[in-house]
């Protein structure tokens, strides 16, 4: 047992010091019915060496088709981008990987400083005044944003736009309907929808995603104005943060809170997690903000340093009155985000965004040129929606059989909604080379015909 440093002799000596005859004696508070032997776990094997574990898991891994091994066009809330090698190297440094939440700031300045940098980057990207040190992911960040709006406005109702990722909408619904009310606008691919009419005096917030789940980009100004006119807040949701390198940020269009999924920057697909929830808002709202914050201060010698601050919002101090129950967040994913964005800088980030848009635009043309296929999202960033002449899930399966992962079919996100059946959501990034796009177009032509 390579991870356990105590020898049998050590154990005996320690038991002597403790003055008990055996380790069972240490478990004497456990009621009899609670103590079980190894045999109870017979279904579980004994310990294994590295080589064997590696073999077992590699075999499982080999049963999957990894995104990088085929032409790949899935998005809808998770995006495949190229992550510079230095990112993954740096986040694995022991001092980042194997440290805890920076509760002892004198020996955690590394973590605290990158969180401060992360907060700054998120604020800059979203065009907001302040940001926190992350939540779990974009969906839970959205739910927290709605709760925060309910607290700030003391109103119960949240209006969700139809373009909000349905998993996000369900997450919000689960949480925000406990003490409030969640209204879902209709999902109409490629259309902005009229949210203004759903906003009333009970409305705490309107939640709008842009680019939305179909890829459509929205001007948030009108809905911000409509919300503000009724005393409601605008929550902007971004699932593809790379879009912020090309598209006007929510903060510039009147958003009060921005909840976003940060995975695209620095973090791999990982089959859905861990990801990193970004959360930004106006300075005046910080005392109602969920999540940790790293703040600047000085030490006893007057040197600049950072600490976790405004903890009186948090569960470990405020308990049932906390702004959120979150404790462990997405630390290391923030770090990956921060490093990748540091590498990109303004120039790289803008170029990355342009490249994504360029790839997606050209792919959209190619695919829309296939007979029977039409593009339903007139304006988009790196993702768009097609209407197909057949149910999209069948097409996706047929493409997969040809070795192409060709996007996310409507039925995957809206099971049993017939009107969504023929829609296919397609994403292209800098990792989709021209030849893969061509292969996709050709295969699509074959399978739809």
């Amino acid at each position: 047992m390579r991870y356990l440093p105590l020898t049998p002799d050590d154990r005996r000596a320690m038991l002597r010091t403790i003055d008990v005859p055996n380790v069972d004696a240490l478990f004497r508070d456990v009621p009899k019915e609670g103590v079980v032997g190894r045999e109870v776990f017979d279904a579980l094997p004994d310990h294994k060496g590295e080589l064997e574990v590696e073999r077992t898991l590699s075999r499982m891994g080999a049963l999957n088709i990894s995104a990088g091994s085929v032409p790949f066009f899935c998005g809808a809330g998770a995006y495949r981008h190229h992550i510079p090698a230095s990112v993954d190297h740096l986040i694995q440094r022991s001092e980042f990987l194997t440290s805890y939440t920076p509760y002892q700031p004198e020996v955690a300045q590394g973590t605290l400083q990158y969180l401060f940098e992360f907060q700054t980057q998120v604020a800059l990207l979203t065009g907001m005044e302040v940001a926190n040190a992350s939540l779990y992911d974009g969906s839970t960040a959205t739910a927290e944003a709605v709760l925060m709006a309910q607290r700030l406005t003391r109103r119960p109702k949240a209006v969700l736009s139809g373009g909000l990722h349905p998993h996000y909408a369900a997450t919000v619904e689960t949480l925000a309907s406990l003490s409030g009310k969640v209204v879902h606008a209709d999902a109409e691919p490629g259309r902005a929808g009229d949210l203004a009419k759903l906003i009333d005096d009970e409305t705490a917030c309107v939640v709008v995603q842009s680019p939305d789940v179909f890829g459509l980009i929205h001007d948030l100004k009108p809905v911000a104005d409509a919300a503000h006119a009724k005393g409601a807040l605008l929550i902007a949701v971004v699932t593809e943060v790379v879009s912020l390198g090309l598209i006007e940020p929510p903060g510039a269009m009147g958003a009060d809170i921005v909840a976003a999924e940060g995975q695209s920057i620095g973090n791999g697909l990982n089959f859905g997690g861990p990801y990193v929830g970004l959360f930004a808002t106006r300075e005046k709202f910080i005392r109602q903000m969920p999540g940790r914050l790293s703040g600047e201060t000085v030490d006893a010698e007057g040197r600049r340093g950072y600490v976790l601050t405004l903890s009186t919002r948090e569960q470990h101090i405020r308990r049932e009155k906390a702004t959120s129950n979150i404790c462990t967040n997405s630390g290391l994913c923030c770090l990956a985000f921060t490093i990748h964005l540091a590498l990109l800088g303004d120039k790289g980030f803008s170029r990355l965004a342009r490249l994504n848009h360029g790839r997606a635009s050209s792919l959209a043309e190619k695919l829309a040129a296939v007979k029977g296929v039409s593009l339903v999202t007139p304006q988009f960033f790196n993702e768009f929606t097609l209407k197909l002449p057949k149910p999209a899930d069948e097409i996706v399966d047929a493409l997969a059989a040809r070795g192409i992962l060709g996007g996310v079919p409507g039925s995957r996100l809206w099971p049993h909604q017939a009107k969504m059946r023929d829609f296919l959501i397609v994403a292209a990034t800098e990792t989709s080379p021209e030849e893969d796009c061509d292969a996709f177009a050709q295969a699509l032509a074959e399978v739809v015909s």
């Binding site: 403790i18 008990v20 004497r28 456990v30 609670g34 079980v36 190894r38 579980l44 004994d46 590295e50 077992t56 898991l57 891994g61 049963l63 999957n64 995104a67 790949f72 495949r80 510079p84 440094r93 980042f96 440290s99 805890y100 020996v107 955690a108 300045q109 590394g110 401060f116 700054t120 980057q121 992911d137 996000y168 090309l246 999924e261 990982n270 089959f271 859905g272 997690g273 861990p274 600047e296 201060t297 569960q315 470990h316 405020r318 308990r319 906390a322 129950n325 404790c327 462990t328 540091a342 990109l344 303004d346 980030f349 170029r351 990355l352 342009r354 490249l355 635009s361 992962l405 996310v408």
Partner: protein
């Protein structure tokens, strides 16, 4: 000293002075490091991406008007920046990290390697299911380990950390109560509970009633039983509890709760003390989250990410949230809609997008396979043994509020510091000078000046002995009046004590360009 070409042996002379002030501000291998934003230069870039020619016809006039304002750095600068920052951190890999309640155990690098296999790390959550059968089978295998180890029939995998797991468990309880046509709004939580417990209860729409603790560190079971009534939705106990003790009357309390129609939520943060020896399912637990980032060693990463799967009793299993993982003739499938859920189930909703912390699942399973059921049992025993060894060795030097044996944490209070002018905080900071990360301080709240020491099973006896020696030395030092050794500590860390009051009073939460800051 004469000229000493490199390689020609150099002798040493004794030359002494006060430690020099440096021009650079750096001190040997300890470098100061500015913010990224202070390092960057316009136009510089740490990646090479071609400038794509694009048209604006698909942008609907929504192009960004102003640059983001990110600093430009080359790759070497970025690497150096983060390497320097890292060197200001303490880490398990660098030393004992006795942070009680956090289970800072060894994080095997094998697990990192496995999580990065393209067959796991490079999968999209919405790929066609038949292209991810291996990944789904891994989740199923992990579920099998978790349910077997806990003796519970079901587990919900999507919660992203312990607190998220608590929420998931309480929402299942809420749904179960609702499905019984009842309305129960109270949750009983001991005063010793972790802050997430009451916070989660409130978030899930419950009111929190605090159960007092006994002088022996256990929850006041009699008081709890008295508080139980028809309007109680659940009791929420941590076991082993936050004082490091196993709640002796746990089974009895579970039965009492069940008798009034309430459920038993168990905070499983301390599962590392009992995994492989005790099954919560045998003790009447209805829901319990497991912090994979504690018991199953996925790295804490400076605060996350974690994963908090929740095991559920038969009573709660039907209410588990979407997605559900099922296996039938077509292989593994994910059920994403209540309409597709088996008739016996009523998912209460959804905890988050997608299906949980896959990256953590791979690591946790690699950990489990490496340990095996035998190793997990041994690890728990060693963790408990180590804590008791520390308790036994230090209880007369520091002061222990409760009798042993403890579980995997040894709790001390600040009684031994009485009259010394040294506080728990001061003591903790002096540990930093000694090369140790402090234990958890001032938690649980039921003990004055609490010091909660969790050595974990990852330390050798030599390492524990050394820690004990140093702690005893410091206690001696405090008692013999060397207050300044503590009050000014740490002296030897990258920073001296930081002004938290100032940070909170006028929060500076982001960097801002100089001119903006001035305006």
């Amino acid at each position: 000293m004469t000229m000493n070409p490199v390689g020609r042996p150099t002798g040493i002379e004794a030359v002494e002075m006060e430690h020099p002030q440096t021009f650079s501000g750096d001190r040997g291998l300890d470098h100061e490091e500015p913010l990224l934003f202070e390092l960057g230069r316009e136009g510089m870039c740490g990646v090479d991406i071609p400038q794509a020619q694009i048209s604006d016809k698909r942008l609907g006039g929504l192009q960004r008007k102003k640059p983001v304002g990110l600093p430009g750095l080359s790759e070497p600068e970025v690497v150096r920046h983060f390497v320097r920052l890292s060197r200001m951190n303490y880490a398990i890999d660098a030393g004992l990290y006795p942070l009680g309640s956090c289970t800072m155990k060894h994080n095997p690098r094998l697990n990192e390697k496995m999580a990065r296999l393209p067959g796991f790390g490079d999968l999209h959550p919405l790929q066609p299911e038949r292209t991810v059968q291996g990944a789904l089978s891994l989740i199923a295998e992990l579920m099998r380990w978790l349910t077997t180890l806990t003796g519970m029939p079901a587990v919900a995998m999507s919660p992203k950390a312990g607190a998220h797991g608590e929420l998931c468990g309480l929402l299942a309880i809420r749904a179960a109560i609702k499905s019984r046509g009842e309305q129960r709004r109270r949750i009983l939580v001991p005063s010793s509970a972790h802050g997430t417990n009451p916070a989660t209860a409130a978030l899930a729409g419950f009111t929190v009633d605090e159960v007092p603790a006994l002088a022996n560190g256990h929850v006041d079971a009699d008081a709890l039983e008295r508080m139980l009534a028809n309007d109680v939705a659940a009791i929420m106990l941590t076991n082993p509890n936050t004082c490091g003790l196993f709640e002796r009357r746990i089974r009895e309390l579970a039965d009492a709760a069940h008798k009034v129609g309430a459920y038993f939520y168990c905070d499983g943060a301390n599962f590392n003390a009992i995994a492989g020896r005790v099954r919560p399912g045998d003790l009447g637990v209805d829901a319990m989250h497991i912090n994979l980032h504690k018991t199953f060693s996925t790295p804490h990463g400076g605060g996350g990410p974690g994963a908090g799967p929740v095991v559920l009793s038969a009573a709660l299993a039907p209410f588990a949230p979407l997605p559900l993982l099922v296996h039938d003739k077509g292989g593994f499938r994910l059920i994403e809609s209540p309409d597709d859920a088996p008739p016996s189930t009523k998912p209460f909703g959804r905890m988050c997008a997608f299906h949980g912390q896959m990256g953590m699942f791979v690591r946790a399973l690699a950990y489990m396979l490496s340990h095996g059921a035998d190793g997990i049992r041994q690890a728990s025993e060693d963790a408990v043994l180590a804590a008791n060894y520390i308790l036994a060795s230090l209880k007369d030097v520091l002061s222990a509020p409760f009798e042993g044996p403890c579980m995997h944490e040894a709790l001390f209070d600040d009684h031994f510091l009485e009259g010394t002018g040294v506080t728990t905080l001061d003591f903790a900071k002096a540990m930093i000078d000694e090369g140790y990360h402090p234990m958890t301080m001032y938690f649980p709240l039921v003990v004055h000046g609490a010091m909660l020491v969790e050595p974990t099973e990852s330390e050798s006896k030599e390492s524990l002995d050394r820690f004990i020696r140093v702690m005893a030395g410091l206690a001696q030092e405090a008692k013999s009046g060397r207050k300044e050794r503590f009050a000014g500590a740490p002296y030897l860390a990258p920073r001296r004590r930081l002004d938290e009051t100032r940070a909170a009073r006028k929060p500076v939460l982001r960097w801002a360009p100089k001119d903006a800051a001035e305006s």
